[in-house]
């Protein structure tokens, strides 16, 4: 089996799918950090919130309603969080932010439990994506291919927006040097607000997309948080290149580790993270400035 090309293809696709899911989460987190040096540990909870919104909306109007509306709903929750809490914590150090968002994790965990209960929810995969595609001699679930395609599409869209548009230039300027950007007349405050909401929306999208694969449980936010943090720390906090590099590293190390060295798999990624931190304490592609 290990000498079969199809097997490697299959694992590579699995790895890619995991990477894309993590990319959706880490891109929001990393840009929020890059712009305002704000560490939002509750990002995983927003992902869980997205999954719950998607599950509820899917029960009303089918999968696609959840898919399109859950990110919007989570972005709305982001607006509330921002105006209520984050705006005030913006200028505090990382320690205070870590703690406040840690408190937020506690609170959001119970909010989801309160509204949706402790039992796991499930979402049906939509009919059009249910089934398997056969190509290059392997069979692969269509839904997972959809996640890969979606991740790549979001990546391409973000790359275009960040590299080619004016708002992208403003964001990059803000990431590189927010004080200078403010001097140049960019409203960094508002920019951050927009980016924060978009980041929350992407977390919600990740939740909506992941919901049919995993069951929707209150602690799914806690479970995804550590991998997401590993991704952005390996990649380099605040760097867009880092988010994609970190996601790919995590996805491939985790997936191929589980196949090739099942005993060491779970420790492997943490050992890699420790190694990266020792050799390059600021990650592989640290943000400038």
């Amino acid at each position: 089996m290990a000498h079969d090309l199809g097997f490697w293809m299959l694992q590579a696709l699995n790895a890619l799918q995991l990477s894309m899911l993590l990319f959706l989460l880490s891109i929001g987190l990393t840009v929020i950090f890059g712009l305002m040096h704000f560490v939002n540990l509750a990002h995983g909870s927003l992902y869980a919130l997205g999954a719950y919104f998607a599950a509820s909306l899917a029960a009303i109007g089918g999968y696609w309603m959840g898919f399109f509306l859950a990110p919007v709903a989570v972005a709305g929750a982001g607006v509330l969080l921002y105006s209520g809490l984050i705006k005030r914590m913006r200028n505090s150090g990382p320690m205070a932010q870590v703690l406040v968002t840690f408190g937020l994790i506690f609170a959001l965990l119970d909010v989801t439990r309160f509204f949706w209960g402790d039992l796991a929810l499930a979402i049906e995969i939509p009919a059009i994506l249910d089934g398997r595609l056969t190509f290059l001699g392997i069979e692969y679930p269509a839904y997972r291919l959809f996640i890969i395609a979606l991740g790549l599409a979001i990546f391409a869209a973000l790359a275009v927006v960040l590299d080619r548009t004016q708002i992208g230039a403003m964001i990059r300027a803000g990431v590189d040097n927010d004080a200078m950007a403010a001097c140049l007349g960019i409203n960094v405050e508002r920019l951050f607000f927009i980016v924060f909401c978009v980041g929350c929306g992407l977390a919600g999208l990740a939740g909506a997309v992941a919901a049919p694969l995993l069951s929707v449980t209150p602690d799914m936010g806690l479970q995804i948080l550590i991998p997401t943090l590993i991704v952005i720390v390996i990649g380099g906090l605040g760097s867009l290149k880092g988010a994609i590099a970190g996601s790919l590293v995590y996805g491939f190390v985790q997936t191929f580790g589980a196949v090739l060295a099942p005993q060491a798999a779970s420790v492997l990624i943490y050992a890699l993270l420790a190694a990266v931190l020792v050799i390059k304490p600021a990650g592989l592609f640290p943000a400038k400035g």
């Binding site: 150090g93 320690m95 205070a96 703690l99 840690f102 408190g103 609170a107 119970d110 779970s266 931190l277």
Partner: protein
């Protein structure tokens, strides 16, 4: 140099009296909670040494405590060592592990330090979860308690064990004070205030950090060995990063860098948790809200708040200075 203000001494005395009173008069359930508080207090004391006095915010202390619990269980139940030797062994193992973690992470700062320690904690968690010798998800049972019947102390009952934990905590507190007053503790303060300057003075900064982290790890490991004896059963959940996060919450709740604060925090947190979980299943929500309020109020936890309000004039001035410094340093560049 570390010293107690009279207010802190008073708080400490009050806490000790309350714990002793509780240990002598409470019934079974009260004693169990008291023991839980004492063990948590030991863990957060260890965390306060590195986070409050060294500026090293660690998210692996839960894993160190869990490591201590597993080391004790393996040494006593599996390897057949006498409990006292197993306790010493557990503390030594976690101390060595913590020293290594401290040495590796010494170069990182701020959020990177938090992440690096988190990585080590999770590594330990995954390893314990997967390796067959640790019993995986099922955990380990049949862990013996220390036997002090030769000197006439019975630890098999909850009252005896609670008193024993209180004695160990008192000893650990004394040790922590000694560590902080030693040359090592003063170097640590210097490193926290200005690493560059200490390096220029000829200090090997990473060694100081690693040594203190190791000592703190020993205390956490000791707390773990006591926790294993308390419940006589352990599971990988002990090493989960949320335990470390909770410990951090407790330190902040009580007051970072005060040494008394963690004890107050541990008592407040567990009492709150037990009271609230009796009333509502959503006690996390309340704890989360309280935590957010405490951090946003910018007081240095409960002890900081008490000091700002009721401190004597000298104490108040010291507290004010410490608070100003703390909110700048801790909140500024933890």
């Amino acid at each position: 140099m570390f010293h107690h203000t009279s207010l802190r001494c008073a708080v400490l005395g009050l806490l000790a009296a309350a714990a002793l009173f509780q240990a002598l008069t409470a019934e079974y359930f009260g004693l169990e909670i008291l023991t839980e508080i004492l063990i948590l207090a030991m863990l957060v004391l260890a965390l306060d040494i590195v986070a409050g006095f060294g500026g090293m915010v660690s998210l692996c202390h839960g894993a160190l405590m869990g490591g201590g619990a597993y080391a004790y269980a393996l040494l006593s139940a599996k390897a057949g060592l006498p409990p006292l030797a197993a306790m010493a062994g557990a503390a030594a193992v976690t101390g060595a592990a913590a020293w290594l973690i401290g040495a590796v992470c010494a170069r990182s700062h701020g959020i990177y330090f938090i992440m690096a320690t988190l990585a080590f904690g999770q590594m330990a968690y995954s390893y314990v979860f997967e390796a067959p010798v640790f019993g995986g998800d099922d955990g380990l049972g049949g862990i013996p308690r220390l036997d002090l019947s030769q000197i006439g102390i019975d630890l098999s009952g909850s009252r005896g064990f609670a008193l024993f934990c209180l004695a160990v905590l008192a000893a650990v507190y004394g040790t922590a004070v000694l560590i902080l007053r030693s040359g090592l503790g003063r170097s640590l303060c210097g490193v926290k205030h200005n690493e560059q300057r200490m390096r220029a003075l000829g200090l090997t900064v990473w060694r100081v950090k690693a040594d203190v982290f190791g000592l703190s790890g020993m205390i956490a490991g000791l707390a773990g060995a006591l926790a294993a004896q308390h419940i006589m059963y352990i599971s990988p959940g002990l090493l989960s990063w949320t335990v470390s996060g909770e410990a951090l919450v407790v330190v902040i709740l009580g007051g970072l860098g005060t040494l008394v604060g963690p004890l107050v925090g541990a008592a407040a947190f567990l009492l709150l948790k037990h009271e609230l979980s009796a009333v509502t299943p959503y006690w996390h929500l309340v704890v989360g809200a309280i935590l957010i309020a405490v951090v946003m109020s910018r007081a240095n936890g409960i002890v900081g708040w008490i000091e700002a309000r009721w401190g004597g004039r000298g104490d108040r001035r010291a507290a004010e200075a410490a608070r100003k410094q703390k909110s700048e340093e801790v909140l500024g560049d933890a």
